[in-house]
């Protein structure tokens, strides 16, 4: 798939995100918009996932993900981007996006396996747990002689959780080198700028000191840069170290008035704001 096609998908996913959070008057648009390019690049180009269709013409989802690359979303509050990408990829119907955060929906506020939504392998939302789960899945692949990779996306605010550093210490010690972790460096969290709330200081130096192979994506909202970064990360796997991508993004990327501030971390747009956002995002694949 060409970059242009991926960008078109990303534009549609961004429309889905703002429409979903508008539809239920809650949710987290900021981080979702910032990580759209990464998730689109992963699911539509970089990850090896089964496209085999099953019931209803949707992708037949296997929980164990044998012989597939796996993706874990640790910062579960950016569920809108995850749900949209999964639906657009073909795990379930895009019309189901309209049920986001509403009663009796499979699209819970934070991702869960509990409602059996295809594409989700573990619940996340309470922060700091996803990297550990991803490590476990990566170890299972090693035990099975499965050479596919495991990806895990975390937030930068999430780095304040202690469990992250237990996992950060574990993965290099046990040479979990089929793991690519990504930190979304948008510099924002609920209470303000991450550097003010609780500075992460030098994450690159920290992860290096813990034994990770650390690389950067300077602009995680530039599809070419994301693709190049993921390609490089894959080349770094299988060398005895886990791989960490520090990916700079703009919270709210794609919607000018949502960018660069923590204010849109967890706030839904009103009708007027929705219209202003959608005017900036071409409808490429058809709205749900």
């Amino acid at each position: 798939m060409q970059t242009k096609e991926l960008q078109d998908i990303a534009s549609q996913v961004r429309r889905d995100i703002v429409r979903m959070v508008h539809g239920c008057k809650s949710g987290h648009p900021g981080g979702s918009l910032g990580c759209t390019d990464l998730l689109v690049a992963l699911y539509f180009q970089q990850m090896k996932v089964s496209n085999r269709k099953g019931k209803g013409g949707y992708i037949s989802f296997k929980m164990n993900g044998a012989d597939e690359d796996l993706f874990f979303l640790s910062n579960g509050h950016i569920s809108p981007v995850f749900y949209s990408v999964l639906a657009r990829k073909g795990y379930f119907g895009v019309e189901e996006l309209a049920t986001f955060r509403k009663i009796n929906s499979r699209l819970q506020g934070h991702p869960t396996t509990h409602e059996h939504l295809p594409g989700i392998r573990v619940a996340s939302g309470s922060l700091g747990q996803g990297l550990s789960v991803a490590i476990g899945a990566a170890l299972a692949k090693k035990l099975d002689g499965d050479d596919k990779l495991v990806y895990c996306l975390m937030g930068d605010g999430e780095q304040q959780e202690g469990q992250i550093w237990e996992a950060a210490q574990f993965a290099p010690h046990h040479k979990v080198d089929n793991l690519i972790a990504v930190i979304d460096l948008n510099g924002q969290q609920i209470d303000g700028a991450t550097k003010d709330v609780m500075s992460n200081r030098d994450l690159k130096a920290k992860y290096k000191a813990f034994g990770w192979n650390v690389m950067e994506i300077a602009n995680g909202n530039d599809m070419d840069a994301v693709i190049a970064g993921l390609r490089k990360a894959k080349r770094l796997t299988g060398k005895g170290q886990p791989v960490m991508i520090l990916m700079k993004t703009e919270m709210g990327a794609g919607v000018d008035f949502m960018m660069g501030s923590h204010k849109w971390h967890g706030v839904a747009p009103n009708d007027e704001q929705l219209a202003a956002a959608l005017a900036q995002l071409p409808e490429t694949l058809g709205d749900y």
Binding site: M63, G65, V122, G130, D144, G162, F170, H173, H174
Partner: protein, 317 residues
């Protein structure tokens, strides 16, 4: 009173360790994790036989629970092991989100539960874990009573799909259940049939209940003794059948009175059949350092305490 004897004393954790050795051969998908307590959990033989299926996490229990969840996603049957204190309260949210809510086939197998951990004191003597784990949806909670039952339970849960909290203990205690028993999750074990009082016990308190039954027999009291090894799901049918016959009950556990076996039984009775109940349990306090026998005596968890409670509950009928 049915006669129970024992020829040896063994720790329940050795039942766990020996079961793991067997599971190493019988279940290729069983994987063991441990947070720096391999010796205490008695899993050295499993590790020796299957080093590739053992994961040392270091002193990082939260990470261990998450890794276990990930292993389960990959089709493994992970046994995450540590002390009960560190495998329950310390990691409650990890178990809740990454295991129970996510419906992962993770076995949390924890030793040194309760007062009988002994000299290390209250920091390590978890007495609230059954309450916490009972409160968690989708969690099976098991507290076996001796070496043989622990071994049987450890093997049985490997073939049970779903999260399990299996708690056992440190000290050597009488081995009085059959070595060849079939462990049925959620099924009460009738230790002794009687008509005057139902003594419902779990874990280390089952042997105390048997001793109490013998003392009561001398006093002319015919005690029915039931072992509830599975706190959740609770065998409510067995409990109700017994209490409807005896009209009173004493529950016995090495745990807080708040939220444990006693409260589980009370919940059942209050909705189905009202009967006086007495609790043999720790009464809203922390433990302390000491040898297990002294602690059990000080905190009211011996056969003599059960006898007193039985006399009291019968008087309330």
């Amino acid at each position: 009173m049915k006669k129970y004897t024992f020829t040896e004393k063994k720790d329940t954790r050795s039942g766990f360790g020996d079961a793991m050795t067997e599971l190493g051969e019988s279940h290729p998908n069983v994987v063991a994790l441990c947070a720096d307590l391999v010796g205490s959990l008695k899993i050295a033989p499993f590790i020796k036989n299957h080093p590739e299926r053992f994961i040392q996490t270091g002193i990082a229990e939260a990470n261990m629970i998450g890794i276990a969840s990930g292993l389960a996603i990959g089709g493994k049957i992970p046994y995450a092991t540590t002390f009960a204190n560190f495998g329950s309260g310390r990691v409650y949210d990890q178990i809740r989100q990454s295991v129970a809510y996510s419906d992962k086939n993770v076995k949390i197998a924890v030793s040194h539960a309760g007062l009988t951990l002994g000299e290390d004191g209250a920091t390590h003597q978890i007495l609230e874990d059954l309450a916490m784990m009972r409160a968690m949806p989708n969690m099976t909670v098991i507290n076996p009573c001796d070496y043989n039952q622990t071994k049987a339970a450890t093997i049985a849960i490997a073939d049970h799909e779903g999260p399990v909290y299996l708690r056992f203990g440190r000290p050597v205690v009488p081995v009085f259940t059959p070595a060849d028993q079939k462990f049925e999750i959620g099924k009460a074990w009738m230790v002794n049939e009687g008509k005057d009082v139902s003594i419902i016990a779990t874990g280390h308190l089952v042997w105390e209940a048997i001793k109490a039954g013998e003392i009561l027999e001398e006093k002319g009291i015919d005690a029915e003794i039931i072992n509830i090894h599975t706190i959740k799901p609770l065998d409510t049918a067995a409990i109700l059948k017994s209490v409807k016959k005896t009209k009173c009950v004493v529950t016995c556990e090495e745990h807080q009175a708040n939220g444990g076996l006693g409260d589980a039984v009370a919940q059942t009775l209050s909705q189905n059949f009202l009967a006086p109940q007495e609790y043999i349990a720790v009464k809203d306090s922390f433990g302390e350092s000491g040898v297990p026998e002294d602690l059990m005596a000080k905190y009211g968890l011996t056969a003599e305490h059960i006898v007193e409670a039985v006399l009291k509950v019968i008087s309330r009928k």
